[in-house]
Amino acid sequence: MLFHIDEADPRPIYVQIMDEVRRGLITGKLKRGDPLPSVREMAADLSVNPNTVKQAYRELEREGLVEPRRGEGTFVADTARVSRAERRTLARGVAERALWDAIRHGLSAEEFLAAAEVVARQRGMLTEASAAAVSAAAAGAAETSGAEGPA
C-alpha cells in the first residue's frame, strides 16, 4: 500500500501516518498479519523523521492495531479490528478536512452538509432509510460528545 502524508495538513505527521494505516485496514489494502514498512523504509519513503514513524507505530500498537515482532519488524495485529470508534475517528478527521475546505471556499457548514447529502443521494450512496440513520447517529453523537467537533 502507498502511504501519503501532506506537510500542509493541520494534523500532526504521526497522526497522518496512523490514519493512513487505518485507511489501509478499512479499504482492505492492509490485512491481519501483513508487514508494515520498517521505520527506515517508511521514513525514507515519506522523507519524515524516523522518530515520527516510531511514534505512529507506538500509538498504533497501543490501540492494538499493530504488533512488533522481535527482529522482524511491525505487523498488522492478528486481532486487529477497526472498531466503530476508530471508524468514527477516521470519519471525523475526513469531515474536518472537508469542512475546512468548504470554509476556504467561503461556504457555511450548513451549505456544505446540504451539498454532501445531495451529492451522496445523486450517486445512490444514500437512501431515505440510511439518511434517517445518519441524522439519528449525528444526534446521538452530539449528545455524547458535546461540542467536540470543528467550530
Partner: protein, 319 residues
C-alpha cells in the same frame, strides 16, 4: 528537553563579535539528542557563524558551548571527530584525486568510516568513481560532500545549505538518504537552510535566528497548530481589535479584504475574526516553509514570547 550537559548540543549566552558588529547575541541553543533541528534565518543572521562555532572552527567572544559534553573551543579536534559537517562551500583541495582515491583518503582519517555504506551512497547519488574531483560538476561535488559527511557514521550531523546546487531529483534523494541515516543511527541533526521545502518533514525542532538572536526555538509540531493563514471580508473602516492585532504576524489589508498570518489555533482565529465582525473566507495551516517565511517577515521586535505576554495582558482574558 534534558539539560544534562552531555546530551545533544547546547550553547549558553553565546556571543560573537566581528569588530563592532555583533554576529551572535546571547544565543541559548538547545538541541536534544536525536532531534533534527532546523536553523532558519535570513542571510547574515548568524547561522553559518553559529555552526562554525559549534565545530570549533571559529571562536566565540563570550558564552559556553557543549557538543556531546565537549567544548569545541578546547577540544575542536574531538568535536570534529564526532560531527559530520557539510559546509556551505563546495571546494575540494585535492582536485587531482579521483572520487575513489578521495574516499580512501577520508577513510584513512576516519576510524569509524563505513566503506560499504560509502559505496552504497556513491551508487545512490550516481557519482562517477573514477572521475577526478576537479572534473566534477557543482552538483556532483555537493553530492560527494554528502558522502564524506555521512560515511563515517557520525552521531552528530551539521549541514549548512546541504541541497544548494542539487537538482530536484537529487533533492528528493537527499531527503530520503538523510531520513534513512537518522533511522539507522539515531544521530542528532542540525541543519541550516533557506530551501526548507527540501528537508520535507524531517525537522523535529525549529530555531529562527534574527540579527544574531534566537527569537524562536520550539518543536515543529508546536508551530503546526499556532500559525494560520486567513483571509476575511471586513467592513471598509475595519480596524483589528487588540486581540487580533497582537496575534498578527503579517497582514495585507486592502479595501474590504484582509489577508493575514495569525499566531492562533485555527478555531481560535475563526472565533476572533467572527467576534470582530469579519467574515472568514479562507483558513489554512502553514507548511514549515511558509511558517518560517511568515516569521522572518514579522516586525523585528516580534517574538512568540512577546505575543503570549501581550495576549495575557489583554482585557477580558484570552478572547
Amino acid at each position: 528537553m534534558s539539560d544534562h550537559p552531555l546530551d545533544g548540543v547546547t550553547t549558553h549566552g553565546l556571543r560573537k563579535e566581528f569588530g563592532h558588529q555583533r554576529a551572535l547575541d546571547g544565543v541559548n541553543l538547545r538541541v536534544a539528542p536525536g532531534a533534527a533541528y532546523l536553523m532558519a534565518g535570513e542571510n547574515g543572521a548568524g547561522k553559518s557563524t553559529l555552526l562554525r562555532i559549534l565545530l570549533g572552527l571559529q571562536e566565540a567572544t563570550a558564552g559556553t558551548v557543549s557538543v556531546l559534553g565537549l567544548d569545541p573551543a578546547v577540544d575542536g579536534a574531538g568535536v570534529r571527530a564526532l560531527v559530520g559537517y557539510m559546509p556551505d562551500r563546495v571546494e575540494f583541495e585535492h582536485g587531482w584525486m579521483s572520487v575513489d582515491a578521495a574516499l580512501r583518503f577520508h577513510a584513512r582519517y576516519r576510524p569509524r568510516w563505513d566503506a560499504a555504506y560509502a559505496a552504497e551512497l556513491i551508487g545512490q547519488l550516481e557519482l562517477p568513481r573514477d572521475r577526478r574531483l576537479a572534473g566534477l560538476s557543482k552538483g556532483q561535488r555537493r553530492r560527494l560532500q554528502l558522502v564524506f559527511t555521512l560515511a563515517h557514521r557520525p552521531p552528530i550531523v551539521v549541514m549548512d545549505e546541504p541541497t544548494d546546487a542539487l537538482d530536484p531529483r537529487m533533492r528528493e534523494r537527499f531527503a530520503q538518504l538523510l531520513s534513512a541515516y537518522l533511522a539507522d543511527t539515531d544521530a542528532t541533526l542540525i541543519l541550516s537552510t533557506h530551501a526548507i521545502a527540501d528537508v520535507k518533514s524531517i525537522p523535529t525542532d525549529v530555531g529562527i535566528l534574527r540579527q544574531g538572536q534566537l527569537v524562536l526555538q520550539c518543536k515543529r509540531e508546536a508551530l503546526r497548530n499556532r500559525l494560520v493563514r486567513v483571509s476575511a471580508e471586513v467592513p471598509n473602516d475595519w480596524l483589528p481589535p487588540p486581540a487580533i492585532g497582537v496575534r498578527t504576524i503579517s497582514e495585507e489589508h486592502r479595501g474590504g479584504m484582509l489577508r493575514a498570518v495569525l499566531w492562533a489555533a485555527p478555531e481560535e482565529a475563526c472565533a476572533l475574526l467572527e467576534s470582530a465582525g469579519a467574515a472568514t473566507t479562507s483558513l489554512d495551516a502553514l507548511t514549515l516553509s511558509e511558517a518560517v517565511v511568515a516569521m522572518l517577515a514579522a516586525p523585528p521586535s516580534w517574538t512568540p514570547e512577546a505575543v503570549e505576554v501581550e495576549i495575557a495582558l489583554l482585557p477580558g482574558g484570552v478572547l
